[in-house]
């Protein structure tokens, strides 16, 4: 029996792909947040447990993950502001495409210095050792 | 097969059908059967406007409007009907406004009006602003507004139901003078559900035909693929006459090769026509009004240029509509739609390049004869109780031999409303006519024949050949020889049609099958048009006979009435065509005696 619509992928434009990105980053952040609250709660259990878990964040794999998370948050945040502008600014819908480019540029502008700093710390500390 | 029972059945959901449905739906148990979703109807393609002597922007009155209509139709108009239409035009427009139609507005907030070809003040003294419009989408707005109001009034629609037969019975009756005759009565309709391939019989006290035009008998046409003259064809097969079928309007400016309409408003804005030599040829044909001459004259002039070798393009088969001397801003403001058509479909930029155009088959002036109450006539004056027709399928006749621009949107509203009201009133008192025994039998036979016939002929090829010969021989110039050629061709098409093969044998959405059925109607109508054109040995309005270039009021100031009649043989027919009997009907003249038609 036929079940679901099939065929080629709908070739949406910027608007659709930015929404796909927004949705995925939203879920990613949410899942992280759940975990993050749980691990932070360990401070209530005992400082040792917390330190142990936080230690796990300090290896380079997690460091990279952390970078990805920040990338996701920054995109989600900026694009969220774009969506809000589309909703409330009269000319928002007209300039949605331009605003998306602005979001992406702002994302790069924020991410580059952050990555430089963050990754240096992550890797220098790992290799340099404490 | 299922049988349904309604007081009123409306066939067609274009402007005429839905205007009728709004009236009938509120007063009687009504259903609308339509082969397209209502909003797909071709009324939505109309651009220019709908005229009424509102006098919102300058002095005007319905009497002038009547005169223009009569003169525009080259005096073949039934003047009582034209008077009704012009009078009720004002209410028709106001009705639409109250239903929500977003007309353009004057600075005072009233409905704005603009000029259109042939509409004049005080019997031809000067152009008058009579056309009410909504940008260049008047037809779209009318269709949408009517559909919206059908939704509001909960009108029942059967979408994608093709009506293929009228159920009529004949009773013996006597006229007042004692002569016996056969009185036709309407019992209902038979329709084919596209989705399932099932037949449904609808029994009804009143039936309104509103199936629109038949432009697809021609190749180059502004009409939709679906305008195959079904209503006319069905009525004709039931022995109901068709009136004035030789008159078909060719609109001068269709996109070359495609037929897509570029509104008359383009020339109103100052666009001009040029031939391959860059010459503004209308100066030769109509020295005073040039490019703004009436549609029939301009169309003939264009065709003549092409015929004399001054056409443009690789095949020298079109002329050019030149807007390049107009300001781009002006074009954008006034003609956004047509410029978009030119860009989209021909890749021509109207700001800088002239647009290829050629006359395009546009409007059937003829159709199922009705009186001013939209009642269908079975002969010159006997009505068929309960059967109504309105819109392009009908011939009231308010358009005579040449329809004025904007008068058709008016026609569908005025006579659609009249038909709807009359049908509901009739249904209140009338009894159902008993359905004939196995009412669907002839439709089943028709479909079975089409489905099982296996001679290998392709429907699309026959249709193309028909359209080619109609374009070549029955367009703006006609002669006895060219008409004879068409008749000879049609004879071969009929023979080929008996040997068609339909590839799709399924039941679901079998459009292949229906295209074959529609071709049957087209062939029938083409033949009627041609025979009637052969008979009319004069030139009048849209019908121009090169061998008889003048109007002949003495012999031909009358409507033609074509009947399907198996008793007519080649020998007994004046036109030597079997199966069609031609009669005439007098024109109703009230105030305006025929004059020479010049602008």
């Amino acid at each position: 029996m036929p079940t679901k619509p099939a065929g080629t992928l709908y070739r949406g434009r910027e608007g659709m792909w930015s929404w796909v990105g927004h949705r995925i980053t939203g879920v990613v952040i949410f899942v992280f947040l759940l975990v993050h609250v749980l691990d932070t709660s360990l401070v209530r259990v005992s400082p040792e447990a917390y330190t142990a878990v936080i230690g796990a964040y300090k290896n380079p794999i997690m460091g990279l993950g952390e970078a990805a998370l920040v990338a996701a948050i920054v995109f989600h945040a900026f694009n969220g502001l774009r969506i809000i502008a589309i909703d409330f600014w009269k000319k928002g819908p007209k300039y949605q495409r331009q605003m998306l480019w602005t979001v992406l540029i702002a994302w790069v502008v924020v991410m580059v210095p952050f990555l430089i700093r963050h990754l240096t710390i992550v890797f220098s500390n790992f290799f340099g050792g404490h | 097969m299922q049988v349904h029972k309604y007081d009123v059945i409306i066939v067609g959901a274009g402007g005429a059908g839905m205007r009728a449905a709004i009236e009938a739906g509120q007063n009687a148990h009504t259903a609308v059967l339509t082969k397209l979703y209502p909003t797909r109807s071709h009324t939505g393609a109309a651009q220019g406007g709908m005229c009424a002597a509102l006098a919102n922007v300058e002095e005007d009155n319905w009497e002038w409007h009547t005169f223009d209509t009569v003169k525009g139709g080259d005096y073949l108009v039934d003047q009582d009907a034209a008077e009704v239409m012009a009078k009720e035009a004002i209410d028709a427009v106001i009705d639409l406004e109250k239903m929500g139609l977003p007309f353009n507005r004057t600075p005072e907030g009233r409905i704005d009006q603009r000029r259109f070809g042939g509409h004049t003040r005080d019997h031809g003294k000067a152009p008058v602003r009579r056309s009410c419009y909504a940008a260049d989408r008047t037809g779209h707005m009318i269709l949408q507004t009517l559909y919206q109001n059908c939704v509001k009034h909960n009108v029942e629609f059967y979408n994608e139901y093709y009506v293929l037969d009228l159920l009529t019975v004949e009773e013996d009756a006597t006229r007042e003078d004692g002569t016996p005759y056969k009185q036709k009565r309407i019992a209902g309709v038979v329709s084919y559900d596209l989705a399932t391939g099932e037949l449904h019989v609808f029994q009804a006290k009143s039936v309104i035909l509103a199936t629109g035009g038949a432009g697809k008998v021609f190749k180059t046409t502004s009409n939709a693929h679906t305008l195959t003259g079904d209503g006319m064809g069905i009525a004709f097969r039931k022995g109901i006459p068709l009136e004035d079928m030789e008159f078909f309007q060719f609109h001068p400016t269709g996109l070359a090769g495609l037929g897509i309409l570029l509104s008359e408003a383009a020339r109103g804005e100052g666009a001009i026509l040029r031939n391959s030599e860059g010459e503004r040829f209308m100066e030769r044909y109509a020295p005073t009004i040039k490019d703004l001459a009436p549609r029939d004259i301009v169309a003939r002039s264009m065709a003549n240029e092409v015929r004399e070798g001054r056409g443009c393009g690789p095949n020298k088969d079109y002329v050019l509509l030149d807007l390049t001397h107009l300001e781009p801003a002006h074009i954008d403001a006034k003609l956004p739609d047509i410029t978009e058509f030119a860009r989209t479909y021909l890749g021509v930029e109207p700001y800088t390049e002239p647009v290829p155009v050629f006359p395009t088959a546009h409007y059937a002036m003829g159709g199922v004869p009705t009186n001013i109450s939209a009642e269908v006539l079975q002969d010159n004056d006997t009505i068929i109780p309960g059967l109504y027709a309105a819109g392009e399928v009908a011939c009231v006749s308010v358009h005579g031999s040449n329809r004025l621009g904007t008068n058709s949107l008016l026609d569908i509203n005025v006579f659609g409303k009249r038909a709807g009201m009359a049908a509901a009133i009739y249904a209140k008192t009338a009894e159902f006519v008993e359905l004939p025994e196995s009412p669907e039998a002839s439709t089943v036979a028709l479909l079975d024949h089409v489905r099982t016939s296996d001679g290998g002929e392709k429907v699309a090829l026959i249709r193309k050949d028909l359209q080619d010969t109609m374009d070549a021989n029955m367009q703006v110039f006609r002669t006895a020889e060219s008409i004879d050629r068409v008749l000879a061709d049609i004879a071969t098409f009929e023979e080929r049609y008996s040997r068609i093969t339909v590839q799709d044998k399924g039941k679901r959405f079998n459009l292949d099958l229906l295209e074959a059925v529609e071709l049957g109607f087209l062939l029938e109508l083409a033949k009627v048009m041609t025979v009637a054109a052969l008979h009319r040995q004069e030139s009048r309005g849209g019908h121009y006979r090169e061998d008889f270039p003048d109007r002949d009021d003495e012999n031909f100031m009358k409507h033609s009435m074509a009947y399907k009649d198996a008793a007519v043989s080649v020998e007994s027919s004046a036109e030597h065509i079997a199966g069609i009997r031609l009669e005439t009907k007098p024109v109703v003249v009230t105030r305006y005696q025929p004059m020479v038609r010049k602008y």
Binding site: M1, P2, T3, K4, P5, A6, G7, R23, G26, V27, I29, F30, L33, L34, V37, L38, T40, S41, V43, R44, S46, P47, E48, Y50, T51, I54, Y57, K58, G63, E66, V70, I73, A77, G80, L81, I83, I84, D87, F88, F114, R117, H118, I121, V122, N125, H130 | -
Partner: protein, 155 residues
């Protein structure tokens, strides 16, 4: 002519019954939720960027984070409120976002209900837990083996 088999399209079969619109809701919940997403979004930009900046960019970045860092922060009511607001807003914002996504993609009502129940429970647990942690947090627990923040009384 070539032809290859692909999945059949969604069709009007028994499994997908004739189109039926859900009963209308007659409440403005969706509007409030929508509005909340925007308002909380704007506030979250400040809260989260501040949070990330302080945690990841200042000082030694992520490596500066340890029990002492957290304890130091939460000893000030300013950061307590900051993080509390962030927790609540982000959780409500994220929960509502995921609720939307479940509404969109869960095809059957049963699945939809189940997923949403799980979501709400999880969110409630996390919010309650987080709140408790922030308020009942003791920066200087007794018997700690590791270094405690310097402001703690030496045991």
């Amino acid at each position: 002519m070539s032809s290859k088999v692909i999945d059949a399209p969604r069709s009007n079969s028994a499994e997908t019954p004739k189109y039926k619109r859900n009963k209308s809701s007659h409440s403005s919940f969706e509007m409030v939720a929508w509005l909340f997403m925007r308002v909380s979004g704007v506030v979250l930009v400040v809260l989260i960027f501040g949070h990330l900046f302080v945690n990841l960019m200042l000082g030694d970045g992520i490596h500066a984070i340890d029990f002492g860092f957290v304890a130091g922060k939460w000893s000030s009511p300013f950061w307590q409120i900051w993080d509390l607001a962030m927790l609540w807003l982000a959780m409500l914002h994220g929960t509502n976002g995921v609720r939307t996504i479940i509404n969109d993609y869960a095809e059957r009502n049963g699945t939809r209900m189940t997923l949403k129940t799980v979501l709400y429970i999880a969110s409630a647990v996390i919010i309650v837990l987080g709140t408790l942690v922030i308020f009942t947090f003791d920066p200087c627990p007794a018997g700690a083996v590791i270094d405690l923040p310097s402001f703690c009384p030496v045991p």
